[in-house]
């Protein structure tokens, strides 16, 4: 039996789908953020799988690391924004925070 690229791709596809589902259905900004993390994980899993099973080089892993770092940066900034959102609106429900004004 062979665990090949398609296996990983399907796993990552499911992660991606769950992430997307979370993003489109949740109304809580933090939950949306979790969905985004899932999507990023799916992408990074792809990178690592390709790096190992298709190219055999380390480039994919390097980019996986970059991806993780990007995710961290994104999470930090996004959570800071969420906090500000909460201060301004007293809520993190994205259906309520639809005004561009201060």
């Amino acid at each position: 039996m062979t665990i090949g690229v398609p296996h990983y791709l399907i796993v990552s596809g499911i992660l991606l789908a769950c992430g997307l589902f979370t993003v489109v259905t949740r109304r809580n900004a933090v939950a949306i953020l979790m969905g985004i993390e899932l999507i990023l994980n799916a992408a990074i899993l792809n990178l690592v799988a390709f790096s190992r099973l298709v190219t055999g080089a380390v480039g994919g892993q390097v980019f996986a690391l970059f991806g993780i770092v990007l995710a961290a940066a994104e999470a930090v900034v996004a959570l800071a924004i969420v906090l500000q959102l909460y201060r301004a609106f007293r809520s993190v429900d994205t259906t309520e925070t639809t005004e561009l004004k201060e």
């Binding site: 993003v23 489109v24 925070t97 639809t98 005004e99």
Partner: protein, 807 residues
Amino acid sequence: MSLHPFPYLWLIPALPLLGAIINGLFGSRIQRRFGETGIWATAVLLPWISAAIAAWAFVTLARSGPETALYVKLWGWLNVGWLDADVAFTLDRLSGVMCLVVTFVGSLIHVYSIGYMRGDPGYWRFFAYLNLFMFAMLTLVLADNFLLMFVGWEGVGLCSYLLISFWYRDKEKAVAGMKAFVVNRVGDAGFVLGLFLLFWGVAGTWQNPPHVQHPLPDIILGGEGAGATTRAATAGTVVGSEGHSLPAPQRVMMESIVSGIVHGEGAAAAAPLPRTSVKFREVERILRDPARRDAFVSQRWLGLSLVTLACLFLFLGATGKSAQIPLYVWLPDAMAGPTPVSALIHAATMVTAGVYLVARLHFLFALSPLALTVVATVGAATALFAATIGLFQHDIKKVLAYSTVSQLGFMFVAVGVGAFWVGIFHLVTHAFFKACLFLGSGSVILGCHHEQDMRKMGGLWKLMPVTAFTYLLSCLAIAGFPLFSGFFSKDEILWKVFSTGNLVYHSGGFWLYVIAAVAALCTSFYMFRSFFMTFTGKYRGEPHGHDAHASSPSTHDSGLTTHDSPAASHDSPHDSSHSQPAAHSSHLPHESPASMTVVLAILGALAVVGGFLGVPPLLGFLPNWFEHWLEPVFGGSEHFVHWRHYPHAYEWGLMGASVVIAFLGAAVAWWLYYAARSPIPGRLMASGSPLVRRVHRLIYNKYYVDEVYGRVFVDGGVGLSRGLWWIDARIVDGLVNLAGRIGALCGMLQGWIDRVFVDGLVNQVGDGIVAGGRRLRGTQSGRVQTYVYGIVAGCVMFALLTYAVPW
């Protein structure tokens, strides 16, 4: 040419850049916090470190054999198709010399500027620009390819502009900067066109090489047997011919020889020639291959051979940067900048970039006698032209500016007759003595409280002994007094011009020699004129004091100094070595601070001894190091440059003539201007002879070239646009109006149709769009999820189109 990796090479341009960044970004804060010391500490130290690295690299290069170059590649830059530009630096023997001159003279001038710019509010800005200039100039010199060189080329132009209009509140100075920029732009267009032509032309030669029957690798390995091998051994590159390819065993032997010759990264030399390249050494390799060279040279375009055309365009770029006819007009105006800038940029380094370009591309220029003739002729014409203008200037910096233009002309004459090393030699000695002259003039200007008019100077020998002495040494050097540096380089130029066999017109060498000799005579005269007017006789200026300062109109200029020296300069603690008690009062000119005089002394000493690097074999008391040093670089072009052979007597005779010229010019200047006692100039002027007056007026007004340019290009442009406007207003508008009338008639007809038939349809569509928009407005809800759906739908679409739909 084999390449030796030298990983520290990039530091040479990078360190000044670092200084520029530090002072450019944080300079104003550093100046407020630490004062001027904080500024110049970094700005002066970094160029010195880079000079030390340059010296180290130079020694490394000297130790590693004649056919080597130090090389460092930082990263690939534009590697697209045949374009192979890297950000890489190469230090071969030619760029090594330039690099040493630039870093060393540049660093000295940095030191000089410490004292010169003291008290200027823009102190940090000045040093940031100066460091940036060093970076750009070193990039230009060390560049591995045309494109990187062009970056440096534009960079020095930018810095020149920034520094000329350094005191930008003064409109005249700002305009001078703009003039320099615009004129340089014309030259840069030529540079770019030449580069394109070259790149394209070299690539074209492979398409249909007329004489080539074999595929390329055969050409490389085919050869003339032993002759080719020795040739390859001397030149370090593989020269083949279009002849028969060798039998297999011999080819194997050749291959082993080839791979034995080139080593290190030079092993690439055995690789097939690239189709085209922007790297200097690759182009040189291509053009050394006879088949490729013949194919390239035989290409013609618009009746001129492509190589001539490319050379002429590149030379246009060189005339812009190096202030030659027709693009010299910016350099005299560039004297509006601070004097250290004039010394560094407009005398020692940047303006020599054109000479360096021609020398760098010697393998290209050597292929086109016509282009070389143009270079030499333009150089000689400029040399004489600028020298005659210099005869009657009163502004000390203007004299030096025209002198620079003239000396650059000499350099172009040298490279134009194919004596590339002589041009570079004169470049080096000129960098020493002209920098010293400019800095000396700066010292005088500072000492005389911003006075630049030589008629108001005089007698400064007693008051500023160091300045006067170094100025005298440099005058002797530039005038070509025996054993001073200018003597060796200028005499060599004159001799090479005389004996050239390379010009396309008959006995051109002799006429060019005459022109250059007259220019040399003028040079000697006006330099000593400036010396005598400035340093001998009696002080003719009004005593300047603090009150004179306060009433000076331009110091009211909202805190920004507009004079060519900082206002606060004489508050500086100046030297106590004065013998003249009167000089201690601030009413008389005074000697400059030690940081300036030391630099003057070093440059003066170099101006004296610099010539011993290239003693001609005729004198022969020292070997000609300079020619020997540059021979591996220019050796490849020697076949294409022809010399006539004269007996030694001619050479002795010409040398004697040079000496006589130098003494004659100086003697006339002494006779007329020493102590300003001679009434002759005044009497000549007053004599009222119309010829004298007219000639004087013509030359004094610089042959009205600025006016002619203004008339032709500026007024011409305005007139052309007026004419076009007239055509536009009368003829075109009439036609348009007629067409408009007809159109209106048709329009009325159509309008009726429109209203009745079309509008109905259009209104329908419009209403539909409005209604759709109203509905679509709902999508811009501000809700994140709505947008995510859009993204997902797009992605799904894409994936389906790519993978799922069977095309």
